[in-house]
């Protein structure tokens, strides 16, 4: 399994189409609960953020404060995104 993953990461020219869940004001601004974002294979979270903002300019007002969650975990900007991951974007939480 690990070998397959590395192969994907190396072939950077391959594009990935990622379905991104949106919540709260992010969903309100995009007028959708999910959007698609295209990134290069091996893209980091930082790369993904740029692609999201470019492809969904409606999110610009809050792009700087969005969290990116990968498989229900908060991510760091240098983390690599796998095609199989579940990605979600949302503003600071306000539950409780």
């Amino acid at each position: 399994m690990k070998t397959a993953v590395i192969t994907v990461n190396v072939r950077k020219t391959e594009h990935m189409k990622i379905t991104v869940k949106l919540f709260a004001r992010a969903s309100q601004l995009a007028r959708a609960s999910e959007v698609e974002v295209e990134v290069d294979g091996g893209a980091s979270v930082a790369d993904f953020r740029k692609a999201l903002e470019a492809q969904h300019p409606k999110l610009k007002p809050i792009a700087g404060s969005l969290f990116v969650a990968i498989d229900s975990e908060y991510s760091s900007d240098d983390q690599v995104i796998l095609e199989t991951a579940q990605i979600a974007c949302f503003p600071p939480v306000s539950g409780g």
Binding site: K21, A24, R25, F67, A69, S72, P91, S94, G96
Partner: protein, 146 residues
């Protein structure tokens, strides 16, 4: 300390929270102190009137984070039993959006553990509230925008 699953109750629900059931769930002969904390919908915020709050959640992640927080709390304090329930959907003033109930041998730990849990929930668990102001407007609440 790893908390046995029968001693923990973590739930996301769109139904009214039955706080008394949670209090009873955590009450045991092993404990000397029980705390119940309820976050309730407050009608007035800085002079503006709220008619209702709508809570939205990212359910899988919210539940994962709520469970993580419960485990962390049980590692830090000698918690005997613990319940954490968050409600989603449309809530009127005075209704409970979140309930924490837990028991410890001694009282100081119940206060510290309860406070840790609600403070961390409010920064870590992906749930959001939308204000329904009395003038008919609505507004998502996001801490950086407050």
């Amino acid at each position: 300390m790893q908390l046995p699953s029968k001693n923990r109750l973590v739930e996301l629900t769109d139904q009214p929270i039955d706080a008394d059931t949670l209090t009873q769930f955590v009450t045991t002969p092993l404990s000397g102190a029980v705390i119940l904390f309820l976050g309730t919908v407050r009608e007035l915020t800085q002079g503006k009137r709220t008619t209702a709050l709508d809570y939205d959640a990212y359910p899988e992640m919210a539940l994962a984070k709520m469970n993580e927080l419960v485990s962390e709390t049980a590692e830090k304090w000698p918690v005997q039993k613990i319940a954490l329930v968050h409600r989603t959907g449309h809530l009127e003033p005075a209704e409970a959006s979140v309930a924490i109930a837990l028991s410890c041998p001694h009282r100081g730990d119940t206060f510290d553990a309860g406070r840790f849990l609600i403070d961390e929930l409010k920064v870590r668990v992906p749930i959001w509230k939308k204000e329904n102001w009395s003038d008919g407007t609505t507004e998502w609440v996001h801490p950086s925008a407050e």
